[in-house]
């Protein structure tokens, strides 16, 4: 998918909790010649999916129907939004009764879901629509020597047959993207594991244990920073580490959004990337 204009789906959390992700995404995309359509969209349905599948479907599919109505492919920087929109799209393909019910509800607003709506995560858009060559050209200040642990984010990766993000068992996309910035992507065993965010505020023991485990692993692989490409993962590693602090004797591993890394490597100014909003500071 190589469109130059995408329907931008920021998701709910960016506005309140992670404005630097929205800012850096827009800065980087503009600099790379991708334009983002900023029509108002609604919740992807992820939070309510625990409670009510039908409500999740209506919310998610409404966004897809808006994309269809505008004739645009949809791009989101959040992996949870991405995964859940893909799930909804999958179920719409899969279940005819559901398809009829949801479309009947959307028809009241003059909207309709149809097949073939393109949903992509930011990383895939960079990979497919911008392309390696353009990214290489755009990187003018390579992050040489920076050791980065690329954190994949579950909801984009799995289940692979629904999300179709990358090989779910041996993905390479994120490491390739990190390498394009001139940094070194370290090999670390827990790179595909959960950050713990889904249980933050629900079961903090689980959430913190998962986060700590990943950070320990990244440290052991001599990573200087953790790179994320998901609003929720970044909230977990940035806010989580800030609020709970690293284990005694350890320095925190700053979590940096991929768009901030790329933007830095492209020589974009710090304010355009919202680096000052990261609670655990990082500068190159």
């Amino acid at each position: 998918m190589t469109a130059r204009t995408w329907l931008y789906f920021p998701g709910c959390k960016i506005n309140t909790f992670m404005p630097q992700y929205g800012l850096s995404t827009r800065s980087v995309m503009t600099a790379l010649g991708i334009s983002l359509d900023q029509t108002e969209l609604n919740c992807c349905g992820y939070p309510v999916r625990h409670e009510n599948f039908a409500a999740f479907m209506v919310a998610a599919v409404r966004n897809l129907a808006i994309a269809a109505a505008r004739g645009l492919a949809l791009m989101t920087p959040c992996k949870c939004c991405f995964g859940n929109l893909k799930h909804a799209d999958h179920w719409m393909h899969q279940d005819e009764t559901l398809r009829r019910q949801i479309n009947a509800l959307l028809a009241k607003e003059g909207l309709a879901w149809r097949q073939g709506i393109v949903i992509r995560h930011l990383l895939s858009v960079l990979d497919e629509a911008v392309g390696t060559d353009a990214l290489k050209t755009a990187v003018t200040r390579p992050l040489t020597g920076l050791r980065v642990a690329a954190h994949y984010g579950c909801h984009a990766l799995r289940p692979g047959n629904i999300t179709q993000f990358d090989n779910p068992l041996a993905p390479t996309l994120f490491e390739r993207m990190v390498a394009l910035t001139g940094a070194t992507a370290v090999n670390w065993p827990l790179r595909l594991e959960c950050c713990g965010q889904p249980q933050t505020g629900k079961n903090n023991r689980v959430a913190m244990a998962l986060m700590t485990r990943k950070l320990d692993d990244a440290r052991q692989a001599d990573a200087q920073i953790m790179a994320t490409a998901c609003t929720h993962c970044q909230m977990q590693f940035d806010d989580g580490q800030f609020e709970y602090g690293p284990p005694t004797g350890c320095a925190p591993v700053p979590a940096v959004l991929y768009t901030q890394l790329l933007g830095t490597a492209m020589g974009l100014p710090e304010e355009a990337l919202g680096l000052e909003k990261n609670r655990i500071p990082w500068r190159f």
Partner: protein, 562 residues
């Protein structure tokens, strides 16, 4: 005399009401910070903050907010031009009518020695303002009855506010129309203001006023060129200084044309006096009602906007946060803009809970904090609040400058403290076995739409190989999975395939799942483990709603006690 008493009485009620309402800003405790502070401390903290603001540059921001958001209403204009027109016409129409019409003795009469309410430009201006208000009322009615979201949630407060505005305006316009056409009033005026007593002159004046001023006389005067000529002279000598032609009464004039056939009858019963009473009483009622309905926003919104101009609630001193939130509750005009931009509003298509919408939630919160929300609606309020994703768009668009985002967070904490947990929280209030017992009593016919749990095809290939458990990161974080999670994923799958899903609904493994999908990805037999866990949570929530739903009369503790 009676009406004068009414005016003073309503003014007194209004002032007392405003004081009472503002007093509540310092007594309501909203949010987790220092809940038991006495009102005196709250007022002191508020005064302290206010006085410190006055000496700082932020005062400029407040003035700017008032100009931009109160006087110009830029926030509303950005979101909807129609709504902006509605608000501007209503606001400026009423403000000018109050200042230049209701209080004309104190304003215009002092500034202009030749002031007369029936002379231009005042008559034209008053009618123009009347038309403004009318436009506003019509837009309000149309919006409330056409916009899908708004039309579902017209509250009594909305209707009362519109009805009062309409009563004042229509009685005023009607009054003017009846007065224009009224012969008895003409006679009174002649008696009071006409210098001479020549009956012919009076007859000519009648002819002139019947012809050009729309007065309808019980015995129509003879109208001919001569009577008109004489009438004109008399008119110019005696009346013209205070009376412009009625065509300038652009609001009342069309009404005059319509009621003309009935004018004699109206004159006979002195409808003008009746309407005068109605008009003044309606205004008095509106004045007295002001602190108790949504009209109070005339006071609370500028205060709220000033607070907003200073910054987010989180930046206020803890005591002032309570005050700020209480002001926020009062500042809501139930305008519905937040609902139109709410990120989870589309869920209303499936979940019948108005408290999903910020506009309804804030109303119910107001009731809840003042102890007036019925018990069975409290659960609904908590459930609606749960669904909010904290996208902050309501706060961004609120024309009253309410920090809604903060209000949701604070109230959610209060609701949880009162026992209204989220479903995740509920599950932790009991153990798996107790849950399975109460779950059995609340079976529902519907299912989630994924149709996995009750379908034997989902599990036929499961060989209980434990891979799902082996890869589960949640199990890995547990020192003792049985203690922390009740069951492992593979054991949950086994229960469900044995048709024992009731047992699994309250199992903590189901609720501690991080939805990382490793189990589902790695299952050699492709059992959709994570989706099954999702469906179990859905099922548990549905049963929770059966016993806790909006129609239920059960108390929050019922489920625990079973």
């Amino acid at each position: 005399m009676f009406l004068t008493y009414c005016v003073y009485l309503s003014l007194a009620v209004c002032l007392a009401g405003v004081l009472w309402r503002m007093g509540r800003w310092f007594t309501l405790s909203i949010g987790p910070e220092a809940p038991s502070a006495p009102p005196r401390a709250r007022i002191a903290a508020c005064l302290h903050a206010t006085s410190s603001i006055l000496t700082r540059p932020v005062i400029a921001a407040i003035v700017k907010a008032w100009v931009v958001d109160v006087l110009i209403q830029r926030q509303i204009a950005r979101k909807s031009v129609v709504r902006w027109v509605m608000h501007m016409t209503l606001f400026y129409g009423f403000v000018s009518l109050i200042l230049l019409h209701a209080l004309d003795d104190l304003t215009l009469a002092r500034w202009d020695p030749d002031y007369a309410a029936t002379a231009n430009p005042y008559m034209l201006l008053r009618n123009l303002m009347g038309l403004f208000v009318l436009t506003g009322i019509i837009i309000a009615l149309v919006r409330r009855h056409t916009l899908v979201l708004l039309k579902r949630f017209n509250t009594r407060a909305d209707k009362v506010a519109i009805a009062l505005c309409a009563a004042i305006l229509l009685s005023g316009v009607g009054l003017e129309a009846v007065q224009i056409s009224s012969a008895p009033l003409f006679d009174e005026m002649v008696q009071d203001y006409f210098g001479g007593d020549d009956p012919e002159e009076i007859t000519s004046l009648k002819a002139y006023w019947a012809a050009y001023y729309e007065v309808v006389f019980p015995q129509p005067p003879v109208i001919n060129a001569q009577s008109l000529e004489t009438g004109q002279t008399v008119h110019e000598d005696n009346c013209a200084a205070c009376h412009s032609p009625p065509t300038y009464a652009i609001a009342a004039y069309p009404v005059v044309k319509i009621i003309k056939p009935l004018a004699p009858a109206m004159g006979r019963i002195r409808l003008d006096i009746g309407l005068w009473y109605i008009h003044v009483l309606a205004s008095c009622i509106a004045l007295a009602y002001l602190p108790f309905g949504k009209l109070f926003h005339l006071i609370s919104v500028p205060v709220s906007l000033a607070a907003r101009a200073v910054g987010d609630t989180r930046g206020n001193a803890p005591l002032n946060r309570h005050t700020r939130r209480a002001i926020g509750l009062d500042a809501c005009t139930h305008c519905g803009v937040c609902a139109l931009h709410c990120s989870v509003a589309p869920l209303m298509a499936v979940i019948d809970n108005p408290d999903i919408l910020p506009s309804e939630k804030i109303g119910d919160l107001s009731l809840w904090y003042t102890g007036r929300l019925e018990r069975n609606r409290q659960w609904r309020l908590a459930r609606g609040g749960n669904i909010c994703t904290a996208c902050g768009r309501c706060t961004d668009v609120c024309p009253a400058g309410i920090d809604l985002q903060d209000l949701w967070q604070a109230s959610q904490t209060d609701l949880i403290d009162s026992g209204y947990f989220s479903p995740h929280g509920w599950i932790r209030t009991n153990d798996m076995v107790a849950w399975s017992k109460s779950a059995k009593t609340a079976t529902t016919a519907a299912d989630s739409g994924m149709h996995l749990v009750d379908n034997p095809d989902t599990f036929w290939a499961c060989v209980q190989c434990t891979i799902c458990t082996n890869v589960c990161p949640v199990v890995a974080t547990s020192e003792d999975p049985r203690r922390d999670l009740d069951l492992t994923p593979q054991q949950v799958m086994n229960l469900v395939r044995l048709q024992l899903k009731d047992m699994a609904l309250g199992c903590r493994m189901v609720w501690d799942c991080v939805t990382c999908y490793r189990c589902q990805e790695e299952c050699p037999q492709k059992v959709p483990v994570a989706d099954v866990l999702y469906e179990l949570r859905n099922e548990a929530c549905r049963r929770l709603h059966v016993v806790k739903g909006p129609t239920s009369k059960l108390s929050p503790s019922d489920l625990q006690e079973r």
